[in-house]
């Protein structure tokens, strides 16, 4: 369904699995900042006749293009205002970062840092929305319906920011019996869910045979996407089963694993990881496992958890490392930002002054991530950690996806945040933010273009 003529072998391979990955290679040409400026004086110049880029961005979507031609004036007040703000920026480095972002050029770490430190939130929202439209010219926002199954809470790692893990001797340590997992999957399918995200702890008693058996059993019984196991769990399985990473991944894939969640990335900076979790400290290992997965044809997501001790330079370092890895193996199909949830965690006990991430900071990091991640098509807004209000607003700061309506989320709720949304509310939330809601599967294939109306309009109101 995609034009694969000018893509590499790896891309072709990836596109077979994930139609969105190919979009990374098919970005539309953008006008340069100077070209735009040259067409008329700013601000509010008379010669500024052509729409700067909006039509080009939307060229693929003919239906929308017709709509825009009919209803949208060529010169948007917004564009003029923002362009003149860029032109009037006195900080040269910041101005150059704005220009590069406007033109769709690749941003360097210094650019990203500058945008995070000094960037104006209104401008970042405008730039990030334009960057989002490159990947997603349709006015759609997707969501997933799946279930988190935390098959065990026994973990030998013990990260400071985690409130979920148990050591194995506590009363409430558990490994879920298979029947219970099946029951949860059945419930998921009944509710219209399409996938399951299985994660637990690094349980030293569970070897690869347990997982192979479990995945095979699930796949024999149900048509469901298995998006399972974090990096640290995969390493743990390889270790206790005395297998290489490649063997482990191959066997898990053969048993039915479809993709791997990018959890556990936290902040990929050894300085910070050491403080947060002594065992997860080697950030290059996270990248290594993810790249091995990509090479084994297992696509993955990538995450970032911020708001826990790191500085902005670490956020930039994290984004760059994932972007570089993506250039090599092209297996990340989504980037997901979380903020640290403090309650009941060791990290908060050790750092009682740590404050929750504010709304503006979250939106700024989100927008800069969208601008820097020019090779990952999807970015999720996190209503789970930031609440539905900021979750909805994030759609205007670069996010094109609302993530999952999680039927079960033990890990975040253990740390004291429990926002819940059902499908109806999710659809309403997206619609009221000005987008068309669509339900997707774990690979971002659109399943329902127009999920049934959740409001009373069908009833004649």
């Amino acid at each position: 369904m995609n034009d694969t003529s000018n893509t590499t072998l790896t891309n072709a391979k990836m596109s077979a699995m994930n139609p969105y990955s190919i979009n990374c290679q098919r970005k539309l040409p953008w006008r340069t900042f100077e070209q735009t400026i040259d067409q008329g004086s700013l601000p509010h110049g008379a010669g500024f006749q052509e729409a700067p880029t909006l039509d080009e961005i939307n060229a693929r979507d003919t239906e929308r293009q017709a709509l825009i031609a009919a209803r949208q004036p060529a010169v948007k007040v917004h564009d003029e205002l923002m362009l003149s703000q860029i032109a009037n920026t006195s900080d040269e480095a910041l101005k150059s970062a704005y220009k590069k972002a406007y033109e769709g050029q690749r941003l360097s770490g210094e650019d990203g840092q500058k945008l995070l430190d000094r960037g104006d939130l209104n401008l970042l929202g405008w730039l990030a929305t334009r960057a989002k439209r490159r990947f997603h010219p349709e006015n759609k926002v997707s969501f997933l319906l799946d279930r988190n199954i935390n098959y065990t809470n026994i973990c030998r790692i013990g990260c400071d920011f985690c409130a979920f893990y148990r050591r194995g001797h506590e009363q409430d340590s558990y490994v879920l019996p298979k029947e219970e997992i099946f029951k949860k999957i059945e419930e998921t399918i009944e509710l219209g869910g399409t996938g399951t995200l299985m994660q637990g702890g690094v349980n030293p008693h569970l070897k690869i045979e347990y997982y192979e058996d479990l995945f095979r059993n699930i796949k024999e019984r149900y048509k469901i996407h298995l998006h399972c196991l974090s990096v640290i769990e995969i390493e743990g399985i390889a270790q206790v089963s005395r297998l290489t990473l490649e063997e482990t991944l191959e066997r898990l894939k053969a048993a039915g694993l479809d993709s791997i969640p990018g959890a556990g990335a936290e902040i990929l900076s050894d300085e910070i990881r050491l403080e947060q979790s002594p065992v997860k400290r080697h950030s290059h290992r996270w990248i290594k496992v993810m790249q091995a997965a990509h090479k084994a044809n297992l696509p993955t997501t990538a995450t970032m958890m911020f708001g826990a001790l790191e500085e902005r330079k670490h956020i930039i370092e994290h984004i760059l490392r994932i972007r570089d890895a993506q250039d090599e193996t092209k297996g990340f199909y989504a980037f997901i930002l979380w903020t640290f949830q403090g309650e009941h965690t060791e990290l908060l006990k050790k750092n009682p002054d740590l404050q929750p991430t504010t709304g503006a900071e979250y939106l700024r990091v989100l927008a800069v991530s969208r601008l820097m991640m020019d090779n990952i098509p999807n970015i999720q807004g996190s209503w789970v950690t930031m609440g539905p209000k900021i979750g909805q607003i994030s759609l205007h700061y670069g996010a094109n996806d609302m993530g999952s309506i999680m039927i079960e989320e033990n890990v975040v709720s253990a740390a004291g945040t429990s926002y819940t949304l059902d499908r109806k509310n999710m659809i309403e939330l997206i619609r009221r933010s000005g987008f068309t809601p669509v339900q997707r599967d774990t690979y971002y294939n659109i399943l329902a273009e127009h999920p049934e109306s959740s409001d009373a309009s069908a009833e004649g109101a």
Partner: protein, 396 residues
């Protein structure tokens, strides 16, 4: 006071309002009209009723925000106001039964209370000790309280801490007192001012538009009545605030109509300090509404307010109603005030606000700075007290 028919030429025919959640009906957005309205706003021209409604319908949130932000920055630069204040709700016993209210109780109900003199004095004392410059007092319409009770409350606060500015009693309470005492509102205000009243809060405005007001609070003071009382106060030299309760059964036309009524009174008197949109809190009400307002809607309301109310210097993003994250984001959508430390907020919290009752000054400073703005502590009537432009000197 019978319901007054408001002469408003711009209002469309009265729509049928239904109780419960408003359905989302897709509107054909007139992009040209939106662009025209934004252009007018940037040129400093006055927006019309239709402009306001069109702006609400525009799906481009960041565009609306950028223009409102530009308009705000031209008026106020990068300064964002807050104050150190304390709320005191002297009683929750109320003769009215507004359908949206979760705070009011009837005498004898479980949880009904009325503070004694000591309880009020003690609250004023802690406020003064914590560095507050203002007490904000509003409460229910206590059937047995007379004007003397109200002057007494103000006197207690003033005797306990003479420097505290008393911003107290909504137009609804003043109207109730005037009728009870068979006095004019001006007479009531004169007595209260002698006791130490400094200015009026903006509560009780809800939505002025009659077809909405009669559905949500038919026993309350009318919209015109509310505006008349504030007109009287302004004419006496008392400044006041004004609010709008949104996110219940009102339509967007009613919101715009409400704002325009405020704008025309402001043209007349210039007595309003600030406009404060209040997001509806959905717990324990009789309107059948169970949802919090949407984040996008909160920001749009601030932005449209900023653009329509060209004769207001300040727009407040009240964190108690929307939570500190949205309130902070609103500083980029035209708001230049975050309200204050509050300390003991009861009315919104009983209605399901998730924002909590108090925000420490240190957190207010952090929230404003995190948004890239400069925190400025203000007095109740918006005189700057201290500009916190150097974080290292916060504690000096």
């Amino acid at each position: 006071m019978e319901s007054v028919t408001c002469a408003s030429s711009h209002l469309p025919p009265r729509p049928e309002l239904i109780s419960g959640e408003r359905p989302h009906s897709p509107v054909k957005v007139d992009y040209h009209a939106v662009q025209a309205a934004l252009t007018k706003a940037l040129k400093g021209e006055r927006l019309s009723f239709a402009d306001g409604v069109n702006l609400f319908h525009s799906p481009d949130l960041v565009e609306l925000g950028a223009v409102a932000n530009e308009v705000n920055q031209r008026k106020n630069g990068s300064d964002v106001f807050f104050n150190v204040n304390r709320h005191i709700n002297p009683t929750n016993i109320c003769a009215l039964s507004c359908k949206f209210c979760a705070f009011s109780r009837k005498p004898g109900d479980e949880g009904a209370y009325a503070y004694s003199d000591d309880e009020i004095a003690q609250r004023a004392r802690t406020a003064a000790e914590s560095g507050a410059t203002e007490v904000h007092m509003v409460g229910g319409l206590h059937p047995r309280w007379k004007l003397a009770n109200y002057t007494n409350i103000i006197r207690i606060v003033k005797e306990t801490a003479p420097h505290l500015h008393v911003k107290a009693f909504t137009a609804v309470e003043l109207d109730w007192l005037a009728r009870k005492e068979r006095k004019t509102v001006a007479e009531v205000l004169t007595e209260l001012r002698e006791a130490g009243l400094g200015s009026l809060p903006g509560g009780g405005a809800e939505i002025f538009t009659p077809y909405v007001r009669e559905k949500i609070c038919d026993t309350k003071l009318t919209g015109d009545g509310w505006l008349n009382i504030h007109r009287t106060a302004h004419q006496m030299g008392l400044r006041s605030n004004c609010t709008m309760l949104y996110g219940h059964i009102e339509d967007l036309e009613a919101r715009v109509d409400h704002m325009l009524r405020l704008r025309s009174l402001q043209d007349e008197t210039s007595g309003f300090n600030v406009f404060i949109p209040l997001a509806f809190q959905p717990e324990n009400n009789e309107l059948g509404i169970t949802k919090h307002t949407y984040g996008v809607d909160d920001l749009k309301t601030i932005a449209v307010g900023r653009l329509l109310l060209d004769n207001f210097r300040h727009i407040k993003s009240y964190w108690v109603m929307t939570g500190d994250r949205v309130a902070q984001t609103a500083l980029h959508y035209g708001a230049n005030d975050l309200d204050g430390t509050v300390v003991e907020e009861k009315i919104a919290n009983m209605a399901g606000s998730r924002a909590g009752m108090a925000m420490a000054k240190s957190k207010i400073l952090r929230v404003i700075r995190d948004a890239g703005r400069i925190p400025v502590e203000r007095s109740t009537v918006y005189e700057p007290i201290r500009r916190f432009d150097n974080p290292a000197e916060d504690l000096l």
